[in-house]
Amino acid sequence: MAKTPLQFRHNGRDVALFVDGGTNLLVVLREMISDVTPKFGCGQGGCGACTVLIDGDALLACLTLAEAVEGRAVETLDGIKTGPNLHPLQRAFAEGFAAQCGYCTPGMLMAAKALLDKIPQPSREQVVEAISGNICRCTGYEPIINAVLAAAASLRASA
């Protein structure tokens, strides 16, 4: 099958490679450029473990054709900290025990980041809505919701 040239921005860096037609973004990220922060969960858009931001929108990498991100900006968990400093969301997740087995955590963090980037001071209902496409089987969601609200509060305090 013919390869298609593909260029996009990955966490602020330009990436250029050749992909097979039909390759999805999750495969490109994990297997071709070794960013394993988006997780493979269900491969059918049901769990949210592969959530990434494309031009700021939370989308599922497993359902996104690689060619669809041509010229666009893809942000993953790998890019959200600043140097050695964790993103406020990451800190709030760690401090609030919002991860147990950890498999859903990268997707949760990206879904939450998409929310806070657009709505810096969300209500609890808005947080619930934002993570409703992400499945967690350990925590019972409560600490995740609380961590997102805590991160929003710490962003407000530092603003």
């Binding site: 059918q44 049901g46 025990f97 147990q100 947080v127 409703s132 499945i135 019972g140 409560e142």
Partner: protein
């Protein structure tokens, strides 16, 4: 047509571990020349925090900082035998095995330090910050790292320890049928408040209040989080989960875990938890562990709350809207019970 509130309670007396074949688990602890320690286990951390809690137990027993202990879990090729992560046994059984292994390793570490400092091992103590010194004379001190280097390169010793925890097999008394299946029990009581819609049969959990007695909470934040997550799983068992739903035809049932219904972030409720600590005499530092008990009392409490709300007794799980609605219809309408 209306929604009805109801409150239900359940209490639980929960055995830690089991008594089939003695329920053993093993642990191995060894130091590297860097003065850091590795705990080898084949036990599995499923997200409940066994890796963290065994790390704490090992560090505390050795007398070294927790950062200096690494726990290598879930490899039955390289780890010693473990019965497994079930029966709420992780903290108690594996914790005890790690404690025994760390105790033996600490003995070797203190002997090696004694040789370096030219004193009796019995006169030495650890400061928990990575040093070993003579009791009452802290200036006569050596770091754990230097002890590990000396053991490896000069003394030719391995600073290591083996641990196993085995409960003596309890036989059944032929006269009375009595036996002791467990050596310690944890306890809990949970009150659930629900809202039942008598038009749709839908049940919403409004809030939960619980008290858990689980020995010493070795890591209180982990315990609390395990209880929060476990209660959610209990609510899921009570109201959502089944491999054989759905109406009207089994063909509409889930085919995989993506379609397997569990409550989402919008279905949860406030849950106030009180943790009571009664250290177990045979637990590692008194710990029993929350284990499966964090989910168990939720199911009967919710079933009781539904009875309290609309007067129907559902004894098959999960308690789906269909079952609630059929039961309400067959008794000719909702019959709210007295609020207690």
């Amino acid at each position: 047509m209306a929604t009805h509130r109801g409150r239900g309670m359940a209490a639980i007396n929960y055995p830690i571990g089991m008594n089939l074949g003695g329920d053993p688990s093993q642990a191995l602890v060894h130091s590297n020349p860097s003065g850091k320690f590795t705990v080898a286990l084949s036990s599995i951390d499923l997200g409940q925090g066994m890796k963290s809690v065994t790390r704490q137990i090992c560090a505390e027993t050795l007398g070294v900082p927790v950062e200096d202990v690494y726990v290598d879990t879930a490899d039955s090729d390289t780890g010693p035998h473990c019965m497994g992560s079930f029966a709420s046994r992780g903290t108690h059984r594996v914790g005890n095995a790690v404690m025994a292994a760390a105790k033996e390793a600490r003995g070797v570490m203190m002997e090696a330090a004694a040789e370096e400092l030219e004193v009796n091992a019995g006169d030495l103590e650890t400061d928990g910050r990575g040093n070993i010194h003579v009791k009452g004379a802290p200036h006569r001190s050596i770091s754990v790292k230097d002890v590990a280097i000396a053991a490896q390169f000069r003394q030719g010793k391995t600073i290591s320890g083996r641990g196993i925890f085995l409960v003596p097999l309890s036989d059944v008394d032929p006269e009375t049928g009595e036996m002791s299946p467990a050596t310690c029990y944890a306890h809990a009581c949970l009150v659930a408040e629900v809202e039942v819609d008598d038009e749709t049969g839908e049940v919403g959990v409004v809030r939960m209040d619980s008290a858990y007695e689980l020995g010493r909470a070795l890591n209180p934040r982990l315990v609390e989080q395990q209880l929060v997550g476990g209660a959610w799983m209990g609510m899921s068992h009570a109201l959502y989960e089944t491999t054989e739903p759905y109406y009207p035809d089994p063909k509409q049932g889930p085919r995989d875990f993506v379609e397997y219904l569990m409550p989402g972030p919008g279905d949860i409720c406030p849950h106030d938890i009180a943790v009571l600590e009664r250290p177990a005499p045979d637990g590692p530092f008194g710990g029993k562990g929350p284990g499966e008990m964090c989910a168990n009392p939720v199911l009967p409490a919710i079933a009781n709350a539904i009875f309290n709300a609309v007067g129907v007794r559902i004894d098959e799980l999960p308690i789906t809207p269909e079952k609630v609605l059929r039961a309400i219809k067959s008794q000719g309408g909702a019959r709210p019970q007295t609020r207690r």
